[in-house]
Symmetry: C2
């Protein structure tokens, strides 16, 4: 009884915070968004209004990309049958499996091949296609904007990409990169730790002693 | 005379805006940052204070990553000799070449190999190493935070990666991904267009008619 009460209180606090962010005209501060965003693995059933979804895509839309090529494509999956098929490509042991089942929307992020990092379809650098980098830039805009609107996300990359491409009819020139459930959180995300800045930022040269 | 005056006025407006963003306690709104950020290719000589640079890394630090593996590494280059060597790996025709020479700092973003998307050093998906995706997520946090603090960035990916790795002494288990100059803008960036949301966001299935 005590624990379900504490849980209710915690949820109330979180909802209050989320709703206060959503108020029209309320400023949603960048660093608060960057630091407050968490991977959300429990979702409410409430649908995401279309105008809210459009705002999240507006955030994604303004990401930078290689020569402004904007190779990203997204598929919004709501159909329970298709969602269930996609869920079958993710291991049940994946901590995001149930989140993908719960959330009202599953967003599948794709990248058009031979565009980013390429000229006339040929890679310009030894790194080949830059679609993973550019979709990464776009996904971060998406997740930050979603959070600023009170929505949860969790980036899922460990699944059978080929199978999802078949399910969604993704053409040869495009590949599926990552997915995220999208919806209103039913519980706060876990605050995970980060390395100290001194562990990843170096001066002038790469240090000989970095063993990470 | 008229054009240099207009230019001075435009710069004044931009600096005002930048400085108003920087004021302590001023809220820097997420969507304003996402939409206002531009690639900056002209920089002032003014140095970037260490505490400001730390804030930019604080933004990068809180990016999400594959199983929170945080594969990113960054090298802050200020030494004119090293900067000049790195500049030699970029084509002079690259529109960001002079920006890299002008800005007081060059930030080189690297990724540790066989960590993101991997388990015990082996890739978990057909996409191999996910370091490009995770460094993309981190780079976007970096660029947004920099902009919110009045700093300019422009992501450069087209250069001789192997040569930059040699210059900076990057070890075998790490690779250089992208670079950006970092400093206070001397001119506003060009507002580039974006595709409409309807051109990249689809419902339920990938459309057969998408020819982009």
């Amino acid at each position: 009884m005590v624990s379900s009460l504490s849980c209710a209180v915690a949820l109330q606090i979180m909802n209050y915070r989320i709703n206060s962010n959503k108020k029209e005209g309320t400023c949603v501060e960048l660093m608060e968004v960057i630091k407050g965003r968490r991977s959300i693995r429990q979702y409410r059933l409430d649908p995401v209004p279309d105008e809210v979804l459009q705002k999240v895509f507006e955030g994604l839309r303004w990401a930078p990309s290689w020569a402004n090529t904007q190779c990203w494509k997204v598929i919004v999956v709501r159909d329970p049958h298709v969602k269930s098929e996609i869920l079958g490509t993710v291991l049940e042991s994946n901590p995001s499996h149930s989140a993908m089942a719960e959330a009202p929307i599953l967003v599948v992020l794709c990248g058009e091949k031979a565009v980013s990092g390429c000229y006339r379809g040929k890679p310009l650098t030894a790194k080949g296609d830059w679609l993973m980098f550019d979709t990464g830039l776009a996904m971060q805009n998406f997740c930050l904007t979603a959070y600023s609107l009170g929505l949860g996300t969790v980036i899922v990359g460990f699944f059978d990409h080929k199978r999802v491409e078949e399910i969604l009819g993704v053409p040869e020139n495009v590949e599926v990169v990552a997915m995220t459930p999208l919806g209103y959180p039913a519980a706060a995300g876990i605050k995970t730790k980060r390395k100290e800045i001194s562990e990843f930022a170096f001066q002038e040269k790469y240090p000989k002693e970095d063993k990470s």
